[in-house]
Amino acid sequence: MKDRAQLSSFQPGNFRLKLIVAMMLVVSVITALVLYGVGRRFAAGAEQEFERQFRGELATLRNAQVLRQAALVERTHALVQKSRLHAALEDDALDLLYPSARDELRDIMTSESAAGSDPRPSALRARFFRFLDRNGRMISPGSFLDAGALGPAEEADLALAAAPLEPQVGYLARAGASGGEEMTEVIAMPIVSTETGEVIAALVLGFQPMPVGPAPGTTDIQRGVWLAGRLHLPGLASSGGAELVRRLTEAVANPSESGGKFIVAVRGSLHAVYYNRLNAGSSYPPAYEVCVYSFDGLLAQQRRLRWQVIGAGGVLLLIGLGTSRFLAGWLSRPVEEMAVDSAENREQRVRAEAALESAGEELQRAARFSADASHQLKTPLAVLRAGLEELQVRSDLTPEVRHELSVLLHQTYRLSSVIEDLLLLSRMDAGQLKLNFGAVDLSQLIEAALDDLGAQPEADGLTIEQDLPPGLGVLGDKHYTSIILQNLLENARKYNRPGGRIRIAAWRDGDRVLLVVGNAGRSITPSAQTHIFERFHRGSIGENIPGYGLGLNLARELARLHGGDLRLVGSDNGWTEFEVRFSAAPSAPVTAKESP
């Protein structure tokens, strides 16, 4: 029952399902790990690329700015060497200062009327010029108008504590022509006396506004200027940039701060902010270039990347799952077959055992019955035979009575023979027959059996043909092998026609020895052929032939007990032939050690 329970709990489909689930789990985990790694790597790469691009653009902007400043300083430096400016300042001719400067600065100043058609780059054009005296005070142009318009407050912003020893860069937020605010870059260049090296004045030039807002040639950079606590960056400073302004205020609280970076959220999206002092060491108020880089591009890129990775992961997973399903099916098929086979085997075995058990019981009961019956029959038969023999020797019997006694006596012999056979069969059925295997000389046994056959009165007139090699050895029990031979020869004699023929042939065929016994006589009908080996079967041809239908059955059972068999080779045209298969004796034929 336990086996049965186990059997029912094992289902091949279950196994396949488990295998698929396990493989899918493994595939999923591996895919997830790979995707995680790839995603991380891609994300890091994208971030680095983004940072690199940003830094590159920033460096480009900064280089342009530095170059521009250097160019402006250079030009301004060349201008302050002009003799007329020196003459005006040194020769006490301040009234000629601004007119002279207008002439000398004609190349650098923007001509208001020709601004549109002027082909020269406007970045290097000055909007206004002023002079500071040796004390840093503004030398007012007075009624001179060509120096560029500046308000009084703006002129005050340009003044310094003293005429500078080095060029100073400053920034001025002015109302632009378009109504918006413009950032003007101011360079204060000292004018040095050629004789003494003293700084006698300074030329202040205001250049074209530096562009504020989206930087040209870049993707996401917004560029502005932080000046005097205010961020000049249209779009960002006004709306949503409060946090940015607060962080900037903190960052540039120290006047010697040269630059840095921070990240801040503006209008809900992250921005990287780089600030860089534009006029390091200047006497003018510190100004910072503020570059704001939106992370939106990066985030969008990362989002795109994430979806790509997820998509690729899905495809990979599908492929992996399909493959694992296929593999699971492929791997589990032999196991399932094995399991099915073993289940069938088990069932068959259980059935066979049950059948065997009942059959064995029946067999034992039958065997016991036949043994008992044989035993119980032998005793009265012996008494009967003794009585008949005693009667036969009496002298006062008539010949008729004597003949009758003789027939009765013969019947008791037959009965005894039947009982012996039944006893033998029942022992065989009960598996109690002990065989003493050994090498048996088949030729010798056949000779002996033929001798016995020749002694029978009915054998007269029969021709016996032999085809026997001498000393043909088989493996078997000598006594029971002899019984097989006797039964076959007996049948060949009994079912022969008068004056008929018996043929005996034997030969070795590999590890087997084949014996064929043929006899003339009426053929066995095909319908009877299937029953001739059954117990107590007697063919229709044997109605007037003595026998009780146990011989062939007994011979076959004995042949099978010896590991061989007995079969009907054929029965037609008045010739019937049986074949016995024996195991050949392993060694060379030996002569029997004991006599039959």
Partner: protein
Amino acid sequence: MKLRFTAYCLCLGSLLPGVVLADAVITGQVALPKRRARAVITQRYEIVAKAGVLSVSPPLAVVYLEGSFSGPSTRPTVQVAQKDLAFQPTLLAIQTGTRVEFPNRDDVYHNIFSYSAPKRFDLGRYRADEKPVPSQVFDVAGLVTLRCDIHEHMRALILVVDTPHFVVTDEDGRFQLKGIPPGNYVVKAWLDSQTVRAQPVKVTDEAELRVDFK
């Protein structure tokens, strides 16, 4: 103009006896500032400005006599040439009304101009072959700084004095003024743009008078 002419004639009349007398000579020496290390190869005069004070290096002085003089109304024309990217001479003293020519003796352009109050002018660019030679008449007494617009380092001084008696000292400050009619004068020594020393003198028949500026 008429008034000035009348005064001129009056002066001339009052001084007439002195003129008749033999002219006197004033000699002397101006104590010049210590010169800097002497240039070994080429001795060149140049204009230096220190704290807004213009002077000549190596130091030179101009000595002139202030007073009323009669004399020829014609003035000789003098020259300040540009040679080797420098003015020659570096320091020029002239009487008011004198015409000064500025010949270019270099192979390059020069552009002489002055922003000084006594005489503002701008000659424009010209080369050596410029004819006539650009010139200016200096009518107002005072110090005029000459510059070249093209060569910022070029500098020269013209001291315009309202007297016919003036002289540039030698390197040691020695000077001699000749033909001085008798009278009361003030001898002035110009040392730099901010320093002018003065000594009153009385010129008599004495043939020689000595005036030193310590």
